[in-house]
């Protein structure tokens, strides 16, 4: 389960992770948006217990998502779903790699 997001959890405040997910399973999405669309991009910016904190480009505020559900959305099936697997690259906020953002 901890492989869900390659996240050094002990320092999660300094790390963010880009994720491609299926909009259908994301619980914080308005129900009208929830289709089997596999290319929704979001950035996981932290973790609180069993919830991930997500900066989603569609929303004004940081949203939360249960890790089981996020796993489901991230490792979804269907068209373009394979792309979800390769977006989990960590981006270190502090220091040199900040410029890649």
């Amino acid at each position: 389960m901890d492989a869900l997001i390659p996240f050094p959890h002990h320092q999660s405040a300094h790390c963010e992770s880009g994720v491609t997910a299926k909009a259908y399973w994301l619980p914080y999405f308005p129900s009208a948006f929830r289709f089997h669309f596999n290319m929704h991009n979001l950035v996981v910016i932290g973790r609180e217990g069993d919830h991930y904190l997500i900066s989603d480009p569609v929303f004004e505020k940081v949203v939360r998502c249960d890790r089981d559900v996020l796993q489901r959305a991230r490792f979804a099936k269907g068209t373009l779903a394979e792309l979800c697997r390769f977006r989990g690259k960590d981006v270190q906020r502090a220091g040199q790699s900040r410029r890649h953002l």
């Binding site: 129900s31 929830r34 289709f35 089997h36 004004e60």
Partner: protein, 142 residues
Amino acid sequence: MKAEEVPQDNGMIGEYGHEVCYAVDENGRYVLSQSLGWEPKNIVNDQAWMVIFKETRRMHQLVQQGKLSSIAYYQAKHQMDIGLLARYTEMAKWRIKRHRRPGIFWRLPERILQRYATTFRISLTELKTIPETFSHEFIRHR
């Protein structure tokens, strides 16, 4: 589009707040701008949901008439086609088609039914039954 011209047609977003989009401010720079929605988008979204609603209602009727198993109803409810359901349950398409026949469905072992239940996020008892009546709420609110 200028920031003050960003459409504010409330519809599909409902009480979820705003959608974030980009617009040009008075200095010609792109800024984040909040939108309540856009009417053409609301219309298209409503039409898409109407298609899903009609399809699910049709499947609901067929299941009630005993022509298909409840898998067909839950499949339509979750907007899945046979191919997608096959990917989620990790079974071949022809098996899904077979399991949609009521006679076959009722003889399925629990371990196969469990795969469907997990995919649809419901219990085994729920999988074997469908709601008595069918309304819009079953589609939009999961």
